[in-house]
């Protein structure tokens, strides 16, 4: 083997080493990107989401009767109105309960306008109402202060929130109702 062949061989091995190092570099960068992006995506994607939820009372900085989106994000219950957001950690929930109620179809200023309808027409309109679910949570803040929040959701939408939050460590004095077995 001549001197030139030796030089060529070392150049070739060096080339191989460089390609391997480059491959390893891309592998590490790719893996780290995958590793860091996966939990972030998991946190951002809410598991249960419901829009058009009314926060009746109990949103400290959010006005009573605000309408927004209720969701379970990560391990907490989150309510976001157009301007503000409140978050309650599932582990800090002392009790969570669901109930049924009904609400008038015509509310607000339109409701007052119906009172002006002659011959009791407004009263007839009051007959139109829809069923809703009421979700009540009792929780403690970081200072130990006791809070309560009442949400009104479309019918049948409160139970998934309760189920999800109880699974994450929220307490419930009334256990989740088991679905009735289907009759064949």
């Amino acid at each position: 083997m001549s001197m030139d062949d030796k030089v060529n061989l070392s150049v070739a091995t060096n080339c191989c080493r460089g390609a391997r190092a480059l491959g390893a570099f891309f592998l590490v960068v790719g893996a780290s990107l995958m590793f860091f992006s996966a939990p972030a995506r998991g946190q951002a994607a809410p598991s249960v989401v419901q829009s058009d939820v009314k926060l009746v009372i109990g949103g400290d900085t959010i006005k009573n009767n605000s309408v927004g989106t209720l969701s379970v994000v990560g391990s907490s219950l989150q309510f976001a109105s157009a301007k503000k957001k409140m978050e309650v950690e599932a582990s800090s929930i002392l009790d969570i309960s669901t109930n049924e109620d009904s609400r008038q179809n015509i509310t607000g200023a339109a409701h007052f306008a119906t009172m002006a309808i002659p011959y009791g027409g407004g009263r007839v309109l009051a007959l139109f109402s829809h069923k809703v679910d009421v979700l009540t949570t009792e929780f403690k803040d970081a200072n130990g202060g006791y809070h309560g929040a009442v949400f009104v959701l479309p019918q049948g939408q409160a139970a998934p929130f309760k189920k999800q939050l109880v699974g994450m460590g929220a307490k419930a004095s009334v256990p989740l109702a088991e679905p009735a077995p289907a009759n064949k």
């Binding site: 009746v56 009372i57 109990g58 009790d95 309960s97 109930n99 109620d101 009904s102 609400r103 008038q104 407004g122 009263r123 009051a126 007959l127 109402s129 009421v134 009540t136 009792e138 403690k140 803040d141 200072n143 130990g144 202060g145 006791y146 809070h147 309560g148 929040a149 009442v150």
Partner: protein, 175 residues
């Protein structure tokens, strides 16, 4: 014509006199009862609100929570206390002259907004709660039964707002 003028000259002053007597007596009655109510005033710089004890009365959770949250808001609005603490707040332990507000359910009737608006006379929601305010030593300062109701317009939970407004008025009278 003569009878008519006589009737006017005799009956009209009688009616006016009776009306005046009624007005004076009602005003006197109001001031005297107001004096008796506001005779004893207490002083405290902070108050802690405890959640409603439902006891044996089946009060739904949303009503208990609405009473508690409305009480905090309405008592803050009175401006009688420097601090209004929630139940369990760690900072309340260091408050020197803390008084505590307890509410215990006595009766609850859940009405229907639809019935109220259609019939006007039925479907009212009503809740009666015993209100106790105790001092640091546990001595009772205020002990009253207060009713909250919604009779004509509004959702059922509005009864809790009515109740809290009445409790806030008691606090204004007592502190």
């Amino acid at each position: 014509m003569r009878y008519h003028t006589r009737a006017v000259t005799v009956i009209f002053p009688l009616v006016v006199t009776c009306a005046l007597i009624l007005m004076v007596s009602s005003v006197w009655g109001q001031t005297s009862s107001g004096e008796s109510k506001s005779a004893q005033k207490f002083s405290a710089s902070s108050i802690q609100i405890e959640p409603t004890d439902a006891g044996d009365v089946p009060v739904p959770a949303e009503f208990r929570m609405a009473v508690y949250e409305n009480l905090i808001t309405q008592i803050e609005k009175t401006g009688k206390f420097q601090h209004v603490y929630r139940s369990g707040d760690k900072d309340a332990a260091s408050a020197p002259d803390l008084v505590t507000l307890h509410t215990t359910a006595k009766s609850f009737t859940k009405g229907s907004q639809k019935k109220r608006e259609v019939t006007t006379v039925s479907g009212s929601t009503s809740l009666i709660l015993a209100v106790h305010i105790t001092d640091h030593a546990g001595q009772t300062l205020v002990d009253r039964d207060v009713q909250g109701k919604v009779r004509f317009l509004g959702e059922n939970l509005r009864a809790t707002y009515d109740f809290s407004k009445k409790v806030a008025n008691i606090v204004r009278e007592s502190f």
